[in-house]
């Protein structure tokens, strides 16, 4: 589904991704781990189309469609979802309004009719119950005054509503207490499906106790330096990132 080949990207004069390759098939869950500054978040942002980064080489395709050619909103409509590490507040804009606009943008792209208000509300309530969210959330400003946990749940809610082909969750587990972490993990697990790919970007293996990955990759200095199954995450947890670095440099 997602094919990244020899991807190179820089911000300013700093090269961050230095030839990264990754292949994710439909139905799979991949975890990307790595120390701070290894390029994890950059990878997520580049795939989503953030223009702070300049792609200097390589390719990114989703089911054969060249993503690098598309604007961020077009990538989204093609089925790319990014769960943000720091979801931004948009005061005054109703959560439900943004959510509905997003659902309709995707529907329009697929040639479907707009969702009607009743159907939308029903769907949103259903998903919110799953995430243990208060329906009042819909009427608040987007992330406005939300706690860290509420923001992350909101990201998962959006993902659940948009039903993306590819979901990249950037440090979704950071700053969550155990209850929120469980709720978020449950939301992610509910979305696992044979026609969807999920990429979890994470620093710790904690989330992986609840969302079991099919593949684990370790990122260091802009490249994937090691790939394996879920046992790799445990090994990392036990031996620390220093171990990977040494192994690479050895």
């Amino acid at each position: 589904m997602l094919e990244i080949k020899d991807l190179k990207a820089k911000t300013g004069d700093t090269e961050i991704l230095k030839g990264l390759s990754l292949s994710v098939k439909a139905g799979e869950v991949h975890a990307i781990m790595g120390p701070n500054g290894s390029g994890k978040s950059t990878l997520a942002q580049v795939v989503a189309g953030r223009d702070d980064y300049e792609v200097t080489g390589g390719s990114v395709t989703l089911n054969g469609t060249d993503l690098l050619d598309l604007e961020p909103e077009e990538r989204s409509r093609e089925g790319v979802f990014l769960g943000f590490q720091y979801p931004v507040e948009i005061p005054g804009v109703n959560n439900a309004y943004l959510l509905k606009a997003a659902v309709n943008a995707r529907r329009a792209h697929a040639g479907e009719e707009e969702i009607d208000a009743y159907e939308f509300l029903k769907l949103a309530r259903e998903k919110m119950a799953l995430l243990d969210m208060d329906p009042k959330f819909l009427n608040r400003g987007v992330n406005e005054g939300f706690s860290g946990g509420e923001k992350k749940r909101n990201e998962i809610l959006q993902m659940a509503m948009l039903e993306p082909k590819l979901a990249i969750l950037d440090e979704t587990d950071s700053g969550l207490d155990i209850d929120a972490l469980k709720a978020v993990a449950e939301g992610v697990n509910a979305l696992r499906s044979p026609d969807r790919a999920i990429v979890l970007v994470t620093h710790y293996q904690r989330l992986l106790d609840y969302v079991e990955p099919d593949h684990v990759h370790v990122l260091s200095e802009g490249r994937i330096v090691r790939s394996g199954d879920k046992t790799l995450a445990h090994e990392l947890e036990a031996r620390g990132y220093e171990w990977v670095r040494e192994a690479v440099n050895a």
């Binding site: 909103e73 989204s76 409509r77 948009i90 005054g92 309004y97 997003a102 943008a105 959006q158």
Partner: protein
């Protein structure tokens, strides 16, 4: 339906056929201003002596005054001798003959705003015989109003048919000498609207200049007077969401509102005059004096404005809270894009006891525009228990624009409670990327954020107006992020 078919046609309506309208079309005065010009204006309008004296007094005061320079706006000096103070509307041969001859950009805007086709021609100033079927609309409308005893007519008609009311209230809120532009307006005002709501009457509909057939060409020196007698209520809508093609650069209007005991006036404006092009060429200078007098106890005046047009806006709709327990409100959205300059805000003058005022101002700057909020809250020594809450928010779009806030407070009673909150925010790259990642285009994202920012003010507008204002805002800010 022809006007003749109605037997009980009021004198008012007949004047549309044979009155001054025809005169205007035939004769203009040469540019320049002196007492003879004012006499000529007054004579042409068949005004009673008191009106002429009033104009002359204003003119003499204007001569002594100088143009204000304190506002945060810049423009070349206006040559008042180059203006024709009694201009005939452009003759049909000078006007565009069809929509094909109108600036395509203007038409594009009409399209985006969803202006009906028959309206577009009128707004663009196309010479067409029967512009649209407003006569029958207006007639039904007038019947309903006269049943309720409401007077709603042009200012000229009011001078002729209701001289006592005009004499009693004209200039009592904005005196002739109030300021330079108000004095000029008082001397030469062309026409405008007049509203009187009798005691205890709740005006059965929202009054809008749209329904006054003759309103389209009231010209650059418009004058409006609204009187709400004891216990009455009126909601008045001014303006048009579609950009108006206009030949006059300087607009100096005066609006006076009077609310007597237990009366309420709600005045909503959507102003969308031509702002000039991207380089700041052309565009209207909108120098307006708007003031409401809460003269009676428990009276209330509420201003709501959405200002997106004009090259320069200089405007401070104000409330004088004279009656005990009277309430003044000001809700404003002011948008400045490209090279537009806006200096707008309000004045709340608390005189009566337990008077309350609320100010909510939302300023949006984009392009290279400058947007200033200027507000005065004055609590007089006798205004025991006065309260004010001011909220003043600025939103910046892009790097080259500016927002400025000039709040003035003069508190002369120790019991006063005055609160001022101000914020400045920017539409951030993070917000835009967030929305776009969710599949929403950049333009839609900007609109969504801007509308969210203005929601408090839009909520104060009559429903239909609010929808239009929202569409208008979107059009005004098109291409603001680029």
């Amino acid at each position: 339906m022809s006007t003749e078919s109605k037997e009980i046609e009021s004198l008012v309506n007949r004047r549309y056929e044979h009155g001054f309208v025809t005169d205007i079309a035939t004769e203009s005065l040469p540019p320049g201003l002196d007492e003879d010009v004012i006499r000529a204006i007054s004579a042409r309008k068949n005004e009673p002596e008191f009106m002429l004296e009033w104009r002359l007094k204003a003119y003499r005061q204007w001569l002594e005054m100088t143009e204000p320079e304190w506002a945060h706006v810049h423009y070349p000096k206006i040559d008042y001798d180059a203006i024709s103070y009694y201009a005939a509307p452009k003759s049909d041969s000078d006007r565009p003959k069809s929509l094909d001859e109108v600036d395509p950009k203007l038409l594009e805007t009409y399209d985006k705003l969803g202006i009906p086709l028959h309206e577009r021609a009128r707004l663009a100033g196309v010479a067409v015989d029967a512009v649209f079927d407003s006569v029958s609309v207006a007639t039904t409308f007038k019947d309903k109003l006269s049943e309720a005893g409401v007077i709603f007519c042009s200012f000229s008609e009011a001078v002729e048919n209701h001289p006592d009311l005009v004499k009693k209230y004209l200039g009592t809120v904005v005196p002739q000498r109030d300021n330079f532009f108000a004095a000029l307006n008082s001397a030469v005002f062309s026409d405008g609207s007049f509203v009187y709501i009798p005691k205890g009457v709740r005006c059965p509909m929202e009054l809008s200049t749209y329904f006054r057939i003759n309103a389209a060409n009231t010209g650059q020196f418009e004058r409006t007077l609204i009187i709400a007698d004891e216990g009455s209520y009126v909601s008045y809508l001014e303006g048009c969401t579609a950009p108006m093609r206009d030949e006059n650069q300087l607009h100096a209007a005066v609006v006076e509102l009077v609310a007597l005991d237990n009366a309420e006036i709600k005045y909503s404006t959507v102003q969308n005059w031509y702002p000039g092009d991207e380089e700041g060429r052309g565009g209207i200078y909108n120098f307006v004096t708007k003031r409401g007098d809460c003269r009676g106890a428990n009276s209330k005046i509420s201003w709501t404005q959405v200002e997106t047009g004009s090259a320069i806006t200089w405007k401070y709709p104000s409330c004088i809270l004279r009656g005990d327990n009277s309430v003044g409100e000001f809700y404003s959205v002011a948008v400045a894009n490209n090279l537009q300059q806006a200096d707008t805000g309000t004045k709340m003058i608390h005189i009566g006891r337990n008077t309350r005022s609320t100010i909510v101002s939302k300023g949006i700057s984009a392009g290279r525009a400058q947007n200033a909020y200027r507000g005065l809250v004055r609590i007089m020594p006798q205004a025991e228990g006065a309260r004010n809450h001011t909220q003043c928010d600025s939103l910046l779009i892009g790097k080259e624009c500016g927002a400025h806030t000039f709040p003035y407070m003069e508190i002369k009673h120790p019991s006063a409670k005055v609160e001022h909150e101000a914020t400045t925010s920017k539409i951030s790259a993070d917000q835009l990327f967030y929305c776009r990642q969710r599949g929403i285009s950049e333009e839609d994202a900007v609109n969504m954020i801007v509308n969210g920012f203005c929601k408090e003010v839009f909520n104060e507008l009559p429903m239909e107006f609010a929808v239009e204002a929202q569409a208008l805002l979107n059009v005004s800010l098109e291409g603001a992020v680029g």
